[in-house]
Symmetry: C2
Subunit: 460 residues, 2 copies
């Protein structure tokens, strides 16, 4: 059944590209409240497509203060066939052309086989790949597995509400395998399958000094400058060896074993090369007893995401500002909890703040624990075969540095085997300027999903 679906999908490549174009034009930015209606518009578009292709459910799950979850299903494979729950998200990070984009972020533009636009790689290509694969099967008599699809609209803004939805709807979402379809391969040609994700928790530090901005001549030298005080706090969050110097931060961290180090060894050289190509940074940085790949996969971090204070316009303004703010996030590894890390970081920051300023540390999200998938599970084996067939290359195994907050909830409430099937690529500019997806990878992604369903159903 899926062989003919693969043929249909290949023939419909231009239609799929047009679907992606349409979805990318909707600025479904979940982190900015003013875009809430755009997020809802994207959700409606998804549900319409699900219904149109013949999925038997295509529902928007909304509640006050929440952006919609889109749930679709097709259970025509019968009770003996396995059920697959696919998770992805249709919301995106903010983007303005003035950030440095070469094209308008919400006017998709194709250049050399890449489609540029905010959300192209994170994660609207996944939304379209998954639905196009399902559509190709439903056009040809149906799928060999039962299908459930859950598309989130708040992945970029903390995933606050999907937790409750998953906890409250275990029967609706019940599945044998849960496919997390988000994230990236290192490049277009070599698939790498992740069996781990880092968790995350985010904060803001607000340092306040004088009650209002002061003239730096009139009071400079007698008042602790909040920018300076904030910088002094930030400078105390890492040790010279690149480790996080927050007491208790590493308490819950599982150290990497020699066996796992061996599994990840093939990733070192490719990641070193990727690192040089993608970052262009003058020199590596971080914990020198770990390889660059280990630093971003098996080690937790404390990262500065933004800072502002005082005059940030053109030219000179000799102000001594009233306040300065930094935005931080920690990437977590097994078995760190967001609560523990929040507690350690906020306590430490308060402890090192001098009496000449005041500090407020604000937790920005519930956060998410890291994820580890059993490397021997049948579902991961099916994924491996599917990628090998879709790409024509044997995949490597790795752990991913990014976070997909909801994975821990799926594991906890659904009891399904979790696997990750990413079809983005790292040069795709996720969370950055000039975000893009590779249109060839979109086609391969659809083929890979169809192989996956075929392998999974034949195994069961």
């Amino acid at each position: 059944m899926t062989a003919v679906a693969r043929q249909t999908a290949a023939e419909h490549s231009a239609i799929t590209r047009a679907r992606l174009d349409t979805l990318l034009r909707i600025p479904s930015v979940s982190t900015i409240p003013a875009h809430a209606d755009d997020v809802r518009r994207a959700a409606g578009w998804l549900a319409d497509w699900m219904a149109e292709m013949g999925m038997t459910r295509a529902d928007l799950h909304e509640a006050p203060g929440r952006l919609p979850l889109v749930y679709g299903e097709w259970l025509g494979a019968g009770q003996n066939a396995p059920t697959v729950l696919i998770y992805t998200h249709y919301d995106v990070q903010p983007a303005e052309k003035s950030d440095g984009w070469n094209t308008e972020p919400f006017e998709p533009t194709e250049i050399n086989g890449k489609l540029y636009g905010r959300g192209a790689v994170d994660s609207k290509c996944h939304v379209v790949i998954q639905l196009a694969a399902i559509e190709a099967m439903l056009k040809n008599g149906g799928s060999p597995v039962n299908l459930k699809m859950l598309c989130e609209g708040e992945e970029e803004s903390g995933s606050e509400h999907i937790y409750e939805f998953v906890a409250n709807n275990p029967d609706l979402l019940k599945a044998d395998v849960c496919v997390i379809s988000d994230g990236s391969l290192p490049n277009e040609s070599q698939p790498v399958l992740d069996y781990g994700l880092r968790g995350i928790v985010s904060f803001e530090i607000h340092v306040r000094g004088p009650k209002r901005d002061l003239h730096s001549g009139h009071y400079g030298g007698s008042v602790h400058n909040p920018i300076q005080a904030l910088s002094e706090i930030i400078a105390q969050l890492h040790a010279p060896d690149g480790s996080v110097s927050v007491p208790g931060f590493y308490d819950q961290v599982e150290l990497i074993t020699d066996e796992e180090r061996e599994v990840l060894l093939p990733m070192r050289a490719p990641f070193d090369e990727e690192w040089r190509d993608v970052t262009g940074a003058p020199a590596p940085w971080g914990e020198s007893q770990y390889s660059l790949h280990e630093r971003i996969s098996v080690r937790p971090t404390l990262e500065l995401n933004g800072i502002y204070g005082g005059y940030i316009g053109q030219g000179v303004k000799t102000v001594l500002p009233a306040a300065a703010v930094a935005k931080l996030s920690c990437r977590l590894v097994p078995y760190q909890t967001p609560d523990h890390v929040w507690e350690c970081v906020s306590t430490h920051i308060k402890a090192i703040t001098p009496p000449s300023v005041t500090v407020e540390v604000i937790r920005m999200e519930a956060g998410a624990e890291a994820l580890i998938i059993d490397r021997t599970s049948p579902a991961l084996k099916a994924v491996t075969i599917a990628y090998e067939r879709g790409w024509g290359v044997k995949p490597l195994l790795s752990r991913e540095g990014g976070s997909i907050p909801v994975t821990a909830e799926f594991k906890k409430y659904l009891g399904a085997q979790l696997v990750m099937m990413p079809f983005g690529y790292k040069n795709g500019g996720a969370h950055s300027i000039n975000e893009n997806c590779d249109l060839g990878m979109v086609d391969k992604g659809i083929q890979t999903m169809l192989h996956f369903y075929e392998v999974l159903s034949s195994e069961s």
Copy 2:
């Protein structure tokens, strides 16, 4: 002659207030190129007023890339009378209501005897006081001293061009006494006369890491975050005792003598009180072996005026940014030179920047040396008497923490006795939000100027 002028000025109080209102409505922001025409409009308005009141010259001095200097003169007092050159500036710092103003910054609003608007205290009240005093004399037969007035349009943006103008026009500007009319008294009732000013030089630090913004999950832990690196640099610019820890920074600094410490002693308690009222900071900060007043007057500083990097919008964006920028300025004391301080600071910053990022230190202005006025000069004595008559209170002597860059040039090229006659007040929010001047002080300022001319002419 000035007694009747004082009477006229008192009667014209409402007209003076209306003049100030008109001038405050012109957003003559010299630090933002888009406001260049507004600066020119303010200059034209000043020259028109000078001509209208009967000054015999009222010229705009313009050149490519420069904002106009307005020069007016009236030399009718005769060759035997002293000549006074008055300096002030009509340009202002940037301001937006969204910065936290209660009123529109360029729509002057009177509340409880204060007039709110950007530039009210720094320094448009001085422009209006000086011209209103001259007008009152010219309406009553003339002034007992010859008058030259130079109004600058680039004081807030580095005063780059007035240096050349002063150097090239010593004959035009030649005077016996040069009055710097800018700055503030600590409050409405107690005049304090400054015999010193701090100098200034400004920089920007640009720290760059990866070639573009990165996803903090994909690369966090392996790349030195530019916000963190910049914070680590900033944290190394001060020692724990509050002193500047840049090698060579204090090389040229003249230490305060016991004699001068005695002169400044009466300022300690009032400044401590002012400090508490105005700053509202949780605790004092700085070099503990100096009083708060000494820290802002006889000691040099290195101050952070602004910082930005990464995502500074609402909510969370997990970016590892490509760059971070800080704006700094140093306040200088005798006999520090801007060149030496620039050299020390930029060399030190480059020396402490780790190889994992790159740094660029940009000098933002030529800068200005500090100024010290001989406390025994006849001109300073005339100023003291004038304030005592204008305010009805004996003035205290002090040194000012702010900078008036052009003073060093006046001293160098004109050979005139320099004095400072400020009519702002420190609660006036210079360089901050809700800037305002006290309308009672504007009237007293005009009276004080008229007393000054009277004393000066009777002494000569």
